[in-house]
Amino acid sequence: MYGSDFEDPETVGQPGASALLDEVESAERDLHEAAARTVATGGSTGPGADAALQDYFDAVIAADQKIEPRDWMPGAYRKGLIRQIAQHAHSEIIGMQPEGNWITRAPSLKRKAILLAKVQDEAGHGLYLYAAAETLGSSRDELVELLITGRQKYSSIFNYPTLNWADVGAIGWLVDGAAIVNQVPLCRCSYGPYARAMIRICKEESFHQRQGFEILYTLARGTAAQRQMAQDAVDRWWYPSLAMFGPPDSDSTHSEQSMAWKIKRFSNDDLRQRFVDMCAQQASVLGLSIPDPDLRWNEERGAWDYRQPDYAELFRVIKGDGPCNRQRLRHRRQAHEDGAWVRDAGSAYAAKQAARRAGKRATEQVAAA
């Protein structure tokens, strides 16, 4: 019910947004079609002899079909995917904090409801991503442990603070926008459970991005203080959002193998360019400026020229020295520790119930005998 709670974004006009959603839908269609085809080398029953395992895996990848949990896969493929999916899940869970920071102070009841629903969606995304990672053999408990002990990362963007209400809009527009540009290609990822989770997530993310755009659109047409708030938020979130696409291609360590395995399908720099092109057009609709003096249309390239984010800052934040790294992890750890007695109670109660049922069955059997 909250999804249709605000102005139709089509009437606001958000260039480039619907094209991304079309891609999600086309990925979904292709996924169903690919599932119906049989792989050339393996036949319909899958791999036979052990020696054929790698061949079969390669053939599935080449045919743009999906690897499923029970299929053989190279160890590094499995390990890389667990790492990527877990980091994605952690990002959803940690990402609840910066926006959650404004739920209790949202300036209208409608905005409060939309924001609460959005943050709730993020918890849901975290849950199905952890479930996708579990299909590869890592339990959610293990992965959460890796997060709260700082041994696995989450998206660095969430280590920046939300200082005013417009930050909620900027996170929707820029951060969720960058996430969608990053994630739409993952709807075609070669690992089936991840691809399917991404299709579902991208559909919801596109709603999140629209609500962010709409918050900024309203603020930009509001009082002077509201306009200033909106511009301040965009100024602070622009470069960290650009950095979400990762280091430049020349420095990216995981890219090549991921591309070959069709986990990743476009380079960091290609995706970043796509994001800049989309935002440059949308900023003018919003009536807000992007804080980049070098931003201009390049006729020859058919793309916008832009200034790169400060990658040294990105690496500092990844290493743990962003404004909120310690706060975000401490919050997560605290919630986890505070909840331990509740989770213990849940398990203890379930065990008692199971014992009672077993006891009852035993009594019935004795009575029947």
Binding site: K112, A113, A117, T218, T223, A335, W341, A345, A348, Y349
Partner: protein, 231 residues
């Protein structure tokens, strides 16, 4: 016809309960519970919006936002139970159980109200209340009949909250109905039903605990900082 005060009592209960539940966001004891508590908060917020909009129209006192953000604590008509701090998860579950059983009984009765608009709101909201009762009961039993620690915490929550339940029935005769749901849940949870005694009151007349003013300060701060702005 319903009185505006009655609409405010129902609407403010829902609004303040939503605000407290929203404080749990990203703090739940497990991720599923983050989703569930947010869901219940959204239901309460949805009900509050319907009821406050109606109250504002009836009294000519403005929109749902005028009522939520521009009234002072002495003008709020919610019961004291909902404004009490969340405490630990057991206190939150105790508040949820006691409130939702009361709300379900109220909405069940209001479905037959001569006030068509309120009857329609009640018909929608009582389905949600029924889910809240389930959730609150389930957790009360799990915590009460879980570990020694969870039992101790749940019993202490019930003891601490019980006095505040009397206020819910000052203007109706629903306490027997309420007890007929709550007592079996406490029994299933191996918890002791507290004795009746101290019965703090005042919420319905705008005399609240010290907690409400802080809650409102946080909820209203941004809205009040920008008079007349649209969001």
């Amino acid at each position: 016809m319903t009185t505006v005060d009655e609409l405010l009592r129902l609407g403010d209960d829902a609004l303040i309960a939503a605000q407290r539940l929203a404080e749990w966001c990203a703090r739940g004891p497990e991720m599923e519970e983050d989703v569930a508590l947010a869901n219940i908060a959204l239901d309460q917020l949805g009900a509050a919006r319907l009821l406050l909009s109606y109250a504002g129209e009836r009294a000519g006192t403005g929109t749902e936002d005028d009522l939520a953000f521009l009234r002072d604590d002495r003008e709020f008509r919610n019961c004291l139970l909902v404004e009490l701090p969340n405490g630990d998860f057991a206190v939150t579950i105790g508040k949820l159980l006691f409130l939702s059983v009361y709300q379900l009984a109220r909405y069940d009765a209001l479905v037959d109200s001569a006030d068509d608009r309120l009857a329609a709101i009640a018909a929608k909201v009582r389905k949600e209340s029924a889910y809240h009762v389930d959730h609150g009961s389930l957790w009360t039993v799990r915590l009460g009949d879980g570990t020694d620690e969870s039992h101790r915490r749940m019993q202490s929550a019930v003891d601490e909250l019980w006095p505040y339940t009397h206020e819910l029935f000052e203007e109706n005769d629903l306490r027997p109905t309420w007890l007929s749901t709550v007592e079996p849940v406490l029994a299933a949870a191996t918890l002791t039903r507290p004795e009746d005694g101290w019965a703090p009151t005042g919420g319905r007349a705008g005399r609240h605990t010290e907690h409400l003013s802080y809650l409102l300060a946080e909820m209203q701060v941004l809205h009040r900082a920008h008079p007349g702005a649209r969001w």
